[in-house]
Symmetry: none
Subunit: 339 residues, 3 copies
């Protein structure tokens, strides 16, 4: 029987579990954050396993980037999630894991692809978390496959360096009582990092951070349109700095752009140590989440327009619009190519 | 004492479970919020069970008030918590449950009383949550016992009515970058109410709310003094309004008063429905938590003084000081009486 | 790629996840109850999936029995658990699922078999939980394999009927202050069943019940010997009655027998509705757990002898001794056969 064989193969892995009430909102839709968290767990396991197949320090795979990803179909309580992960590229110090999330209705037997994403990890030594280990090379089916991986590697490397500069920006605070403004729906949550959130070397799992980010973004979206909302997509997320056990994490979400039927929400994650005040707050992660609003038959609803106040909000709106148009053009190009 | 006998009798109950890593902070101290949550669960079970021993609508006991309570000793991961609850007074529409929290070190056999509190419940019909059912009377050991219960009942009733007025007050927002000011440590968290937070009729358990309150208060305290902090006591908490499943709860904590070795933190809980915008935010609960700062041997440390800005903060500081002095006087009087 | 293929095959399934701090005791040993709960989830998924491959009412597989199972090796935080389940026999109204629990150290690559067990399920209609559906037959590799399955089926059926009578027995209460008596270590916990504990038709997952049972048994064992204790084995467990959402579950454990290096603990699970007091308590499950005591190098320690009080305790001790000797004889016979 092939079950345990797939498990032996160090280059692929499958996680599965039942979706529970706590994974979903009141209407029964599983939160996007749960999907991201499970995908990251699969990536972390396969990445860590792969990087320890060599001699030298034992190490853990730490998430440094998730490529843009789309939520293709809603998932419900009682369905079984199957997450499969495969290592698809290795550079000297990083590896790419492609992860698929399938949802199976075990009552009808129906299966659907709910999400797929590419995650980048680097192996950090357990002795010294700042020491990045070398990644054993994988074998490629073809030279072409390797070349495509190398291109993806170069592209994400460049983008990670670009976004580094932006991370120092500070979050302006002003809540606004007028409905449909940015200030009205802006929301923050504080989370005290606990043992269950952490890896063996006491840093927060990337998946836990993404779950918190999705939670805040969902609250922002719901506050703006007062309907059932779901995560539609997430832009590339870069994990600039690690978050240590015992930190306080502040996750803030604010609307940046609204199209006819979607909302773009910027989510900023700031961390600070509870007991070492001198070190101060730092920006650990930031990303853009896109949400849509659904009616009772799970069909997209129009979204109320955003009331803009001031130049800063206007600038962010324009930037969001550019991202929206770019991603729309890409989608259309992909569709054309596939036909 | 006959644990399971008392368990048969519908007027007392015992809950126990192991303390786990997620129940505690990094140093291993169990959060005060976990203690309050377990005590409320015991009260809810015994109250609900008692109120359903009569004919009529089935009902659930909803928490309306917790009397001031003190944390007598720290509790650690690996200890077993024993929570015992007993119904000690019944009025026509409410009942008082006295709850004790013992911590047992199962390796040494040592047991210590960690907390005791009095909780007040009212039975709400499962058909119509606004309908308050009648409470079956309990039997008292003596007329004196009944009379004392009646006095406690009258006292809390009066206090609950007094605090009602204060609940509409709005939370001033200003975070302040200067250390040891009120604005510097002020913190808020947002929580989206999930199924696990709720009772059978889809309202948040009082214990869940208290756990969130303790969490925010702990973050405020730690931000102020950057040390290991623990809950020392909680002033009486009144639950003014119920919080429904699907609500967004915003819990805000701010320092009000600081003595040599303790911090008083006011915690305000505001709730709003995610999908029914028209209803708006409402103040559901508010309370004062007192925290102390501990060194590595669990001994109290001096707390940095609070820098006051403006009249409002000064007024709240004076009020806090009055509560502090009053509670100190009470404690001394009790000690004198016991000698 | 073979990953998704194994997932397609309806007769086998794999669940895996990282072991977290909350899954383990202070020393880092994963609780036996977590192992049992994950194994039951795998069995429930594969059983439910299989029973819905036919037309007729949609149904869920409800656990009715777990065969005696042994914990072969300790599991630690940070290891990855792989649970594989396979349907190995089907009768008209029930199915047998054999489940293996492997623990993988992803840092060293080491894998070990931690547990295997056989679970029996019956498919209950989602429309009417009392209606037992028919189970589609599986194909056997050989007639011999089918015949062996049929024998296991008959044996467990007979045993289930025998134990039915015993379930009405009531738990005698007297805790005893003298150390090493039955009353001294006897423990109870009460749990209010929440949504996350339940299946789609609002009955408690068998795995959730087993986790609670293991928790109580662990407390009893630790109280008796004041050392690090782990689950060594669990006797066959019969699930006599289902437990509904909103129930209060009382789980009681008491020592029955002690050999040189092991403790047998009887665990009884009683359930009652929170709001329908008149319906009364009923015995839902009962089982015998065997624990051992470990020193710092994970080697078994001698266990303090049990002080017996009265005829009832003596009778239970003798029965436990008979089970112990029988299971020891079986183990020796198995070892002889394998040589």
């Amino acid at each position: 029987m092939s079950v345990s064989q797939t498990c032996e193969a160090s280059s692929s892995l499958q996680i599965c579990r039942l979706m529970r009430p706590d994974d979903a909102n009141i209407v029964g839709n599983v939160h996007g954050g749960i999907v991201l968290k499970m995908m990251e767990e699969a990536g972390c396991i396969i990445g860590t396993r792969h990087c320890n197949t060599q001699s030298g320090d034992r190490c853990l795979a730490a998430l440094v980037r998730v490529e843009k990803t789309e939520f293709l179909t809603p998932i419900f309580i009682g369905e079984v999630a199957h997450v499969t992960a495969e290592i698809t590229y290795t550079s000297k110090h990083s590896l790419e894991v492609q992860v698929k999330f399938m949802a199976e209705n075990i009552l009808t037997g129906a299966k659907k692809l709910a999400n797929k994403a590419a995650l980048w990890y680097v192996p950090c030594s357990l002795q010294n978390v700042e020491k990045i280990m070398e990644v054993p090379a994988i074998k490629y089916a073809s030279a072409e496959q390797e070349e495509e991986g190398r291109k993806r590697y170069e592209a994400q490397k460049m983008e990670r360096q670009e976004t580094k500069a932006r991370t120092e920006e500070v979050m302006p605070p002003p809540p606004n009582p007028e409905q449909h403004t940015v200030g009205f729906s802006q929301s923050s949550l504080i989370h005290l990092v606990g043992p269950t959130d952490c890896t063996l070397h006491n840093y927060v799992h990337g998946g836990v951070t993404m779950k918190l980010m999705d939670e805040v973004a969902g609250i922002v979206a719901a506050r703006h349109c007062n309907t059932n909302i779901v995560t539609a997509s997430v832009d590339a997320i870069n994990f600039h700095r690690k978050i240590k056990k015992g930190s306080v994490v502040t996750v803030t979400g604010r609307l940046t752009f609204i199209s006819n039927k979607s909302m773009e929400i910027e989510v900023l994650v700031d961390a600070s140590s509870l007991v070492e005040a001198e070190k101060g707050k730092y920006r650990a992660v930031s990303a853009f989440f896109t949400f849509i609003s659904l009616d009772k038959d799970n069909k997209p609803l129009p979204v109320p327009p955003l009331k803009i106040n001031g130049e800063e909000e206007q600038r962010r709106f324009e930037e969001g619009k550019a991202r929206y148009l770019q991603s729309k053009a890409k989608r259309l190009a992909n569709q054309a190519r596939q036909q």
